[in-house]
Amino acid sequence: MAKLNEAAVAQITEICQRHKDDKTPLMMILSDIQNEYGYIPLEVQELVSKQTGISVAEIYGVVTFYSFFSLTPKGKYVIGCCLGTACYVKGAQNVIDKFSELLGIKPGETSADGLFTLDALRCIGACGIAPAVSINGKVYPKVAVGQVEGIIDSYRQEAKA
C-alpha cells in the first residue's frame, strides 16, 4: 500500500481529533477530509479506521454511498451538472453531454490536465433556475448548450492567469 507522507498523516489525524467527541463522527471526518485533503483514498481510510475504530469496509461503504465523497483526486474546477427532475426536463442531459464531449471525460472523471472534474448531481435545490450548473460553488442559471464552450474557456483563461 502506498504510504502517506508525514504531513498528510498529521493532517488526517488532526481532522479525526477534531471530531473525537462526536457521537457519530464518521460523516464529519470524511466531509472535512474531502474538503481539505481533496479526496479519500484507501490509505486515508485505513488511517481513519485506526483513529476511530470503525472498520475500513464500513468507511469505504460510506465513501462509495455518497457521491460527494471521492476516491480519486478531483480537478481544480469541479463542474457539477444538476440532473434533478426539474433540470432534467429543462434539458440538463444535453448540457452535461456537451461538457462531456468538449472535455473528453465521462461524468465522475477528471481531465488529464487535472483542471476539470465533471460530476452529475441529483438536485441541488435550484429548480427555479433549471438547468443549473455549479462550478466550485458558483452557480450558473438556465444554462444552454451553446454557453458550455464559453464557460469552459473562461476557466481555462483563469487557470493560465
Partner: protein
C-alpha cells in the same frame, strides 16, 4: 420482566414486553419466515422484508424482526395481505438471484430456498436486469459470489461481533450495492483471517468455503497413497449433517465412513495434538526456565495466526513455534510413516478434515514446507466431508462404529480430544507440564478453571510444586485483542495464553455444519445459545472415556520419540514440527 397481552390470529397470549413480534410469535408457537434477522438480533437490519405481518397500531405491514410488541396488539400472520407481501418480498429477492440452485453447494441448506418454499414464492414472478456479479475465489479459504447475495448483512455483523474486524461491508448504493471487503478486493488482498465465520451465517451460497474435494478425487485417480486425518472438533458436529442431535459424538461412524471413501489410512489428528503438547509443553518449560519470551501464546489456530501477522507483527516472538497438530501429523506421515512403509513422500497425499476454512490457507504457507514438500495436500471442512459421504451413497446412521487406524501412529489420549474447544489446548498442556515439573500426574486430571465454550476471556492461576503459572484463554479476535494489547503495553501478567480464532474454539469453526433454527425443529428453542456447549460436551465426554488422558502417556508418541525424533524440541523435531511467522500488510498492493 413485565408481561403484556397480545393476540395472534385472534388468540390471546401473554408475552414479555420488549420482544419483537418475531420473537414473541416464536414463543407462542409461530415461526414467521425471515432472512436478515439472525441469532437474537445479532443481525437485524429489517432489510429483507420477508417477515412482514399485520399488526394493529402500525401503519401498513411491519417487519416483525424489528417491530416490538405492545399492549393489546393484534397480529395477523396469515391474512391475505401479509401472506401476499411476504411472497412478493421473496419473489423480489429471487428476481435478482442467479437461481443456479443445482450448481450450488448450499443446496438443501439454503434459507432463501426455504423461505421461497414456505411463502410460496416461485421463479419468474418478477423479471428484469440483474445486478453486476462480483466473484472472488482467489483466497484459499473462502469464495464470495455476489450473484447469490441477498444483502442481509449477517456476514458483516458476524465479522464485527466475533473479531471486531469488519472485513466485509456494503459498497456503493441502490441497485449497485454489494457486500465485499473494501475496494471490492479479494479476501486474499485484505486483512481477512479466513476463519469462515461469515460462511457460517450466510443464508445463501454467496459465501462458501473454497472446496478442495476435486483435488482429492484427482489424487485418488492418480493412484497416490491418500491418507486422511480428522480433527477433534469434527466428531462433535459431523452427525448434525445426518440428522443426529447437536452434541452427538460420532467418532466411530466417522472413521468407518472415511475408510469407505477410499483412503489408505484414516487417522485421528488427536495423535498430532498429543505430539503438539509434547513439543509446546517442552517449549513453554524452556521459556519459563531460561528467561524466554513470555507470555507464550498457542499457535494451533490458523485464523489467529493470520490475525497476529496482520495486526501484531511486533508480538510474533510470543507465538509458540509449534506447527498446528494436523501439519505436525502430516509432516510425520511424510517422514516417519513413509520411511517405515517404504513409500516415497512425493507419492503420499495427505487430506485433513477440519472444522476450519483458515486451514485451507494454512496448508499452503511457505513456512510449513519440509524440503519443498507440503505437510498436507488438501483440507476439507466438516461440511465437505459430509458431502463426500453423501456422494458416496453411504448411509451414515447404518455404519458400524470402527476404530481409527493405529498401526505405528494414530493412538491418542483424552488430552488430544479436547483441543477442539476453547481452553482445551491449555488444559492438555497443563496436564503434561504439571507432570514434567512434579514427576507425578495432576489430581484431579482436569483443570476445570480453564474450561468454557464461548468467546470471552478466562484466566486461572495454577500452582505447580510451588510455582504459580498464570494463564489466560481467549477465543474470537475481539477477546484476543484485549490480551494482546496488554502484552504490547507491558502489562500482561500471564506466562501462557491460549488463543483460538473462532468464538468457542474449533467446535464453532467456520467449516462446521450450519446451525439454523429453521432447519432444526427437533432441537430446543434455545439452540442458538446452547449448541457450542453441547458440542464441547461431546469432546469432554470422549476425554473422560479414554483410559489415557495425558499426551506424555501416549505409547505411540513415546515410541515416535524413541525411534525417530529423539526428544521434544530436538533438531529433528525443529526441522519437521516447528515453523516461523512473518508480519504481513493487510491491504497489500494490488495490480
Amino acid at each position: 420482566m413485565a408481561m403484556i397481552n397480545i393476540k395472534i390470529e385472534g388468540v390471546s397470549y401473554q408475552v414479555e414486553e420488549g420482544l419483537t413480534i418475531l420473537e414473541a410469535a416464536k414463543k407462542c408457537g409461530y415461526e414467521i419466515p425471515s432472512l436478515c434477522a439472525f441469532n437474537h438480533g445479532e443481525c437485524n437490519q429489517g432489510s429483507c422484508r420477508v417477515c412482514l405481518v399485520e399488526a394493529t397500531g402500525a401503519r401498513g405491514l411491519v417487519a416483525s424482526c424489528v417491530y416490538p410488541v405492545s399492549e393489546g396488539m393484534e397480529i395477523k400472520i396469515s391474512s391475505p395481505a401479509a401472506t401476499a407481501a411476504r411472497r412478493h418480498s421473496v419473489e423480489l429477492l429471487l428476481s435478482n438471484h442467479n437461481m443456479n440452485c443445482q450448481q450450488c453447494d448450499k443446496n438443501g441448506q439454503c434459507e432463501l430456498l426455504h423461505v421461497a418454499n414456505v411463502t410460496g414464492a416461485r421463479e419468474g414472478a418478477f423479471q428484469g436486469v440483474h445486478s453486476e456479479t462480483h466473484y472472488d475465489e482467489l483466497a484459499p479459504g473462502l469464495v464470495r459470489d455476489t450473484s447469490k447475495c441477498i444483502l442481509c448483512g449477517r456476514c458483516i455483523e458476524r465479522c464485527k461481533n466475533a473479531h471486531g474486524l469488519g472485513i466485509l461491508g456494503f459498497e456503493n448504493r441502490g441497485f449497485n450495492t454489494f457486500v465485499a471487503p473494501a475496494e471490492n478486493r479479494s479476501f486474499a488482498d485484505s486483512p481477512c483471517i479466513q476463519c469462515g465465520q461469515c460462511v457460517n451465517v450466510c443464508p445463501t451460497g454467496a459465501l462458501m468455503e473454497h472446496s478442495e474435494i476435486s483435488k482429492i478425487d484427482e489424487a485418488l485417480a492418480a493412484g497416490k497413497t491418500v491418507i486422511a486425518q480428522a480433527a477433534p472438533a469434527v466428531r462433535a458436529a459431523l452427525g448434525e449433517e445426518f440428522g443426529y442431535p447437536i452434541g452427538t459424538p460420532v467418532t466411530g461412524k466417522m472413521a468407518a465412513a472415511m475408510r469407505r471413501l477410499g483412503f489408505t489410512r484414516v487417522y485421528d489428528v488427536n495423535f498430532g495434538a498429543d505430539l503438539t503438547i509434547m513439543e509446546e509443553g517442552t517449549e513453554l518449560l524452556g521459556r519459563l526456565q531460561n528467561g524466554g519470551t513470555l507470555p507464550m501464546i498457542t499457535s494451533c489456530s490458523p485464523g489467529w495466526i493470520n490475525y497476529a501477522e496482520y495486526n501484531y507483527g511486533d508480538l510474533l516472538p510470543h507465538l509458540s513455534s509449534c506447527k498446528s497438530p494436523h501439519q505436525m501429523q502430516g509432516a510425520i506421515i511424510k517422514s516417519y510413516w513413509a520411511e517405515q512403509n517404504g513409500i516415497d513422500p512425493k507419492d503420499i497425499f495427505v487430506v485433513s478434515v477440519m472444522p476450519c476454512t483458515a486451514k485451507k490457507f494454512e496448508r499452503q504457507r511457505e513456512q510449513l514446507k519440509v524440503n519443498g514438500i507440503d505437510d498436507v495436500d488438501a483440507v476439507i471442512t466438516t461440511r465437505e466431508l459430509a458431502r463426500m459421504i453423501k456422494r458416496g451413497g453411504i448411509l451414515f446412521d447404518r455404519l458400524p462404529d470402527e476404530d481409527w487406524d493405529q498401526d505405528i501412529m494414530g493412538d491418542y489420549t483424552g488430552a488430544g480430544v479436547i483441543f477442539g474447544v476453547t481452553g482445551g489446548v491449555m488444559e492438555a498442556a497443563l496436564r503434561t507440564v504439571y507432570f514434567k515439573l512434579t514427576g507425578k500426574e495432576s489430581e484431579p486430571i482436569e483443570f476445570t478453571a480453564v474450561r468454557g465454550h464461548d468467546a470471552g476471556i478466562r484466566e486461572a492461576s495454577i500452582d505447580i510444586n510451588g510455582t504459580t503459572v498464570n494463564v489466560a484463554i481467549a477465543s474470537g479476535m475481539k477477546s484476543a485483542k484485549v490480551l494482546l494489547d496488554e502484552i504490547r503495553e507491558g502489562k500482561s501478567k500471564y506466562q501462557f495464553i491460549e488463543i483460538m480464532g473462532c468464538p468457542g474454539g474449533c467446535i464453532n469453526g467456520g467449516g462446521q455444519p450450519y446451525v439454523r433454527e429453521c432447519f432444526l425443529h427437533g432441537e430446543s428453542d434455545d439452540i442458538m445459545d446452547t449448541y457450542k456447549e453441547k458440542r464441547a460436551q461431546a469432546l469432554y465426554s470422549e476425554d473422560e472415556r479414554q483410559t489415557l488422558r495425558q499426551s506424555h502417556n501416549n505409547p505411540q508418541i513415546i515410541e515416535l520419540y524413541e525411534k525417530f525424533l529423539g526428544e521434544p524440541n530436538s533438531h529433528k523435531s525443529h526441522e519437521l514440527l516447528h515453523t516461523t511467522y512473518a508480519a504481513r500488510e493487510g491491504f497489500n498492493e494490488v495490480k
